[in-house]
Symmetry: C2
Subunit: 412 residues, 2 copies
């Protein structure tokens, strides 16, 4: 008799973990992704600021599962699900499943502003990161052309919208890139007005952290030359200047938007009940209501924990992937399913070199110690020994020499 | 009094060497390139076959000259030269020079076939290499979709046109990539008909080498699963099949063209007398006839040596760059100029793992010893310590595990 087939859509943190947990289960796993690699998203901002190469944070899915005999991978785009026939619809035709795990992830949400989407940058995939890197370096190269002293205002103003961990990390790293690059390689630009501005709509950055850590992070950013503006909502952007909700205007030739994510578009095609941000409302067992054989995990799933929605973060996705896979194993054995229980691993945000804030099990870290914690956590999580080694070399180099590894402006 | 200004167009091997030789000269050097990085072209085929990441073979020009005070860099596209006014015309306006060194390099010459240019791949810049990598990996991913067994013929046939060193290296590395990848990561494909075909119009591959080394290289390629076809001229390609001059037809969904290069398009804009392949005919001093202050070097220059044109290779470009810079120094001191004297460093071609052929000062090497020579030469030449280290790690990894580092299909 053929083994039941578990189809996993998405090779993100949740999908990979689910496939791993099914390693010894009596199932056949079919993992689908539109890309052939897993992306280590938490370090995307390092690619965007030329600290790491795309290769350092992406790993081919087939290589990850080479030694797991019951997993097959297929690079394909999923376009929908036919619930009654139990088929996933792909651009290469339908694929039957007995169990389905949807871990389709998230995309940048520009809050409905086509103009911000057109002129600004998101930071969700490799393409975004490489485009930001090319754009920032091109601004510097163009500013270095003499005669550009009559350059339009905001040429070297870089606005980062959104004061969550991604925005904070991006602002810190970008400030170091631009200021270090200016000092070392663009000496003629040293007297140019460079601004790195972090805008947050709420009254403080890192709102998920205790208030004193928010303050510490803001001080650390300020020391690194970042202007931290809170209580400022960005309403519009035309590529030259951004308009704030209070009517003021700020010239900036670069806008990086980290102020919101949405579940991936596919969730709208499922006919399922959606929660906020297009996330699919799931039962505590992570099953889709009315579809016992379907699980939704990670950024695409909406579930509350202690009265608040679970955050759209890698640790949640990984725990959900493991929980969904465990529930499939239970159901194969005829055992009752278990509700998902989230174990908060704490939160961390790094602010360039030597500085970070961390809040772990009620303990607060800041400065160098938090940065060391962050470094170790991310290195351990990175998949693939060689990648880890190369990332470590890049970082060590950067640390010792204040050098940037990957300052290439590549064709797009 | 202002120092004379030497403008160098092109940050390839020749341009970099010229700028270095002018280090202690009483001149101001302005180096121009349309890219912000120097590309180590001899290893492009490694990027195309997923052995190295683009970052490993590209290095920011500004970082190279950070410690050389008399060099400034500008990223700009050169569109022509106004000889009388002594100005280089760029997309950022004109730039005055006292001396000019043109090292604008070469581009793929598809022998006038628009169809081959449209459906085939060149291998001259990073973009080409990344497009080949993505294309090859995509062919494999698509072949892995069940039902594709009714796939069109030639789906997994990879034709490399041109049996020079680039074609030989590409064919050997591609065969290893595809066969190793098939065996390890695409197990279901093991019984599929895979063909790697190297086509050469002359009667033997590596025509610049002694005949016995050509034979050794062909045998080595055959052992690696490459079909070596000599005396075959490719006349046309429509993306599905290639037509040979003898009227036969060969299905192939991939064609990589290494069968010819031309000097960069800019040479046609100069109004200078051109030699074969659009190369600018220069005097033995490397000066442009009638323009004593202008030097042309590298692939863009046409000069004969012992009755034959100098090859379009990195060693020639580097030696010419040094010679042009020395002649500028002589002319500043009022000394007579010297004719360029080429010292042939020998030629080398690697054929995948553990195998190469080399012809150095009349000595012939083949097999593992030639490969070891090749490895050392290329590592030493690579610019930048960190790059060298990462390249070494990648190679060691590849060597030990038969693993491919960079199998990402990235957005283009």
């Amino acid at each position: 008799m053929a083994r039941p087939r578990v189809v996993i859509v998405g090779a993100g943190f949740g999908g990979l973990r689910a496939a791993r947990v099914l390693r010894s289960a009596p199932v056949e796993v079919l993992l689908l992704d539109r890309r052939n690699y897993h992306l280590f998203q938490p370090l995307l901002y390092q690619v965007a600021t030329a600290g790491l190469s795309p290769t350092d944070i992406a790993y081919p899915v087939r290589a990850i599962f080479r030694r797991q005999g019951n997993v097959r991978f297929r690079m394909t785009r999923v376009e929908g699900v036919a619930w009654e026939r139990r088929e996933v619809l792909t651009d290469h035709g339908p694929l039957r499943y007995d169990y389905l795990i949807l871990g389709v992830g998230a995309r940048t949400n520009f809050r409905g502003s086509d103009r911000i989407a057109r002129h600004g940058f998101g930071l969700k995939d490799l393409d975004d990161a490489v485009r930001i890197r090319n754009h920032v370096l091109r601004r510097l190269e163009e500013a270095a052309i003499p005669g550009a002293s009559a350059e339009p205002s905001g040429w070297l103003t870089f606005a980062i919208v959104g004061g969550g961990p991604t925005g904070v990390e991006m602002a810190g790293a970008l400030s170091e890139l631009v200021r270090v690059a200016l000092r070392k390689d663009f000496r003629g630009l040293a007297d140019r007005p460079v601004r790195i501005v972090l805008l947050e709509a709420a009254e403080r950055i890192l709102p998920a952290m205790p208030a004193d850590l928010s303050r510490a992070a803001a001080r650390s950013l300020t020391r690194k030359g970042v202007e931290v503006l809170v209580g400022r909502q960005v309403a519009d952007y035309d590529g030259r200047a951004l308009s704030l909700a209070d009517g003021t205007c700020m010239p900036a030739r670069t806008l990086i938007w980290t102020a919101g994510v949405d579940a991936a578009a596919l969730t709208r095609e499922l006919g399922a009940r959606l929660g906020p941000q297009g996330r699919v409302a799931v039962r505590p067992t992570l099953q889709l209501p009315g579809r016992d054989e379907v699980y939704v995990i990670g950024d695409a799933a909406y579930l509350e924990h202690e009265g608040a929605p679970l955050p759209m973060m890698a640790p949640v996705a990984m725990q959900m992937g493991a929980a969904a896979a465990q529930n499939i194993r239970r159901s194969l054995r005829g055992e009752p399913l278990e509700a998902f229980r989230y174990r908060d691993p704490g939160s961390l945000a790094t602010i360039g070199r030597h500085s970070a804030v961390a809040y772990v099990h009620g303990l607060k870290f800041r400065g160098f110690s938090a940065w060391a914690v962050w470094l170790v956590v991310h290195l351990i999580r990175l998949i693939g020994f060689r990648n880890r080694l190369v990332v470590l070399i890049n970082w060590a180099w950067d640390y010792v020499l204040y050098e940037r590894a990957v300052r290439l402006i590549t064709p797009e």
